[in-house]
Structure formats: C-alpha cells, structure tokens
Amino acid sequence: MNAIAITSQMQVRQGPITMRSELASLMASVCADIHADRYMLVHPSVERGPKSVRIITSNWIFDALEDFGSVGIASIIENGHPSGPGATPRALAPATAPFLSKEEKRALLHHGHGELYCQKLIAGGTVSFAIFSAAAARCIDPLALRRGHMMCSYAVSQYFSATGAQESNDPLSERERECLLWVSEGKTTDEVALILGVSSNTVNSYIANAIQKFGANNRAMAIATAIRSGII
C-alpha cells in the first residue's frame, strides 16, 4: 500500500544516488513508507574520539539536536541494540531507556521522539546508523522497516561510493590497521614486528598512534573500537 508511494517517487530518479539532497529525499520517502516522522543518518566518528558522531543527513529540527546532543545520539548507537540488515527491528522507548540521562529523555520527548528505531547499516565496508523516530509508540511499521533498511543501505552505499565520504571514518593508516589486526589475533609486539618486518619500537608507535586517534585508554579499547567500526 505504502510501497506504491515510494515506487512512484523513485521512478523520477534515474541512476545512483550521488548527492546529499537525493539521499535526504530517499530517507524522507522511507520515513513515509514506515510511518516515521523523523530520520537521521549518522556515522560513529572515531577520529573525534569516543561518544561523538557525524551526522550525514537528518530532518531533526535544530533545537532537538541542540537539546539532545551528540553524546545522546552516540549512546543510542552504542546501547540501543541497533538491528543489522534482515534482523527483526527493535523499538526503543526513550522514556524507559536506561542509558539516557533524565535531560536527554526529556529533550527527546519534548521534541516528539516517543519511539525510536536504530538500524545498523553496513555499506561500503563501513558501519553507519539510521535512526527513525515517531511521536507515539507503535507508529512505525517494523515489517516495512525491514525493507526500508535495505533501501537505506543501498542509498548510503551509493552515496559513499560517489562522495568517498566513508574514507574519513577510517582514520588509520594501512600500517596502523595492520598492526591492530595482528594484535587482535593475539600477537605480541615482538611477533607483529617479525610479521611486518619492522622493529618492535615501530610497531609500538603505530599502535600508540592508533590508540591516540581513537581516543582510547589502552590497546584493548582500541581493538574494540576498531572492531565495532568495522575497520578490522
């Protein structure tokens, strides 16, 4: 029924999505299809440290973003159990979410985000998130959302390959990434040095750089961040 609305809009567009405005209009039509009011496409922004995000496109009003803040968005992504492609979408009630502060809950509800769905998009080798929200509980159709999820993935992947936007999500150099990969496989500094044919000091400095770029406390956290963002 609603798919018809989406289809008729899509026939206007030919070729892949290359501009942000096209991405925004696609997100708006997905919103209409799943009965959501607001959308937001975000990247977890590892280069700006933990708890920060980069918004790709969104139709949240400025005040809502200002009041809720990027820390709030980051905690939705981290703790809101985002569903991957094909998984059954899970509704998130901001009012009862244990990971949001009282102020954050109030900001969401005040600006008409009574129900949220956070979907994990894996496109172009990187992870990004689509957050859909509606004013009241159970407005959003979870079955339509599963389809809408794939469309978002397609669109984001086309947009990324057109703009190269996903590059900035991977702040690591090739060598740093390689070092982290071997460390995640349980290799010690000396072993990595042997594998890559460089000195142990060099390996340590690559890893220290990576830790610094991620704003991590230690190696374990850097590895976890890299795995979460799909870098290794």
Binding site: T7, G15, I17, G86, K105, L143, Q158, N217, A220, A224
Partner: protein
Amino acid sequence: MLHDMTAPVEAEILGDEAVAAWAAPLTVEPEIEEISSLSDAVRLCLRISGLLRADAFSLFFIVSQGDAARLAPVFDTSYPGISSLSRMLSARDTERFALSACKSDQPVWWGGRDGRDFLSASALPWAAEVASPIEQAGIAFPVSQERGRTGLVVFSGSAMNVDETHLCEAHSRCFSLFAHVARQRVQDCAKKPNVSKRELECLRLTADGLTSDDIATSLGLSVHTANQYLTNSTQKLNAVNRIHAVAKAMRSGLID
C-alpha cells in the same frame, strides 16, 4: 554506564498512561522465522525464490584467497544434492563474477542469454548489472554476518519479475537466512564456549578500556578475582591473551 532511572522519573516525564502503554507487550509481532536445520533454511529460501518468481536458487559462502574469491556452495534447489546452478557458479572460470559480486553491498543482476530485463524501473537503480556468468537471467544478493562470514544468495529463472519492494524484501530475508545458516555452521564446528555471565562482564569492561583495577572497583570485586575471571575467559575462548579474548568475543557476538 549505570543510571538510577526508576519508574517515577519516566512517569514524571511521560505521564503514567504512556509508561503503562510501553510496559504492555508489543502486539504486532513481526514474523519470526525459526530455523533449526538446513532443510528449514532451504524451505525459507524456496519462499524467497517464489517472491522473485525464480526457478532456482543457491546459497554460497565466499571464500577469499588473497585477491581472489571463490564461491563455496552450501545448499540449493536440489538439496541435498547439488544443482547445476551451484556447479556452474562455483566453477573456476566464474571467479571474476564472484569477485564483482562480493565487492558490492548491492544486488548484482544479469540478463542471461536472451538479455531479458526482469527488474522494474524502480528496482533498476539499486542493482548493478554484471556480465552473465550463466545462460539464464539471475540476480545475486551479497550477504554478510556481522564481523563474520560473507556469502552470496543467487536466484535465477526465465520468468523472474522483481520490483523495488520485492528486491528489498528478498535481500532483507536473505540476510536473516544467512545469519542463521552461518551461525549454525559455527555451532556445528565448535561448541559454544561456556563463558559465564561474570566473565563476559569483565570482557565487556576490558573492551571499554578499563583496567583490572577499574573492573574490580566497578563490579565490587578484588583485583585478583577480576583477573581470574579474565584468565578463565581467555582459556575458555582458546585465546592467547586478554586482547585476543576480547577480539574473539566481539567477533563471535558474545559481547557488543
């Protein structure tokens, strides 16, 4: 990350009524497809195949070998046998097809010998056209398990008809199907490590950058106990050190 958020706060913000509405279970349950065996998976794949009006399907694992990629068939229309579709696509000369299909996140399609266009205008921008690897027209959906295996679900037929809605629906179902199949394979190969809740908690905190001291403080344990939990989980996961254990636990989905 613990907030003392209790019911009164929610009621204060939302009103009692809205809190009560949320406490009730969700009435509209999305269809849950239970897969307990490979034949269940085959049955589900047959249903997706019906959605696309395809005659044949085949599910592959992608095995990458350096710069090359190979398709390893898991099951297909002739389950428990192997169909000609699987045989043709896993042959050596289709390596280029395998590479182009697994490079993308989006479906790839081909028109077959008679070059028939079976995608609707709305679906066309979402899928990339590739050179026909086989005689019949078909479409391939790249799928992956989060931090895990990647695969390809291929459908082919002479009477296929796919619009945008069906394309997304089919791809989404392929993803969930593949997740089940890949998980089952892992469980078949190695029994799920018996890591306790407490041990997982310690691993999770380690992933968040906490040291043993921090973990002991936040969980109210002694440092020795926290270390013991981490050592145990490292052994159970068959890892060589803590970082390896964290990486293994994350990749197998034990922790987020």
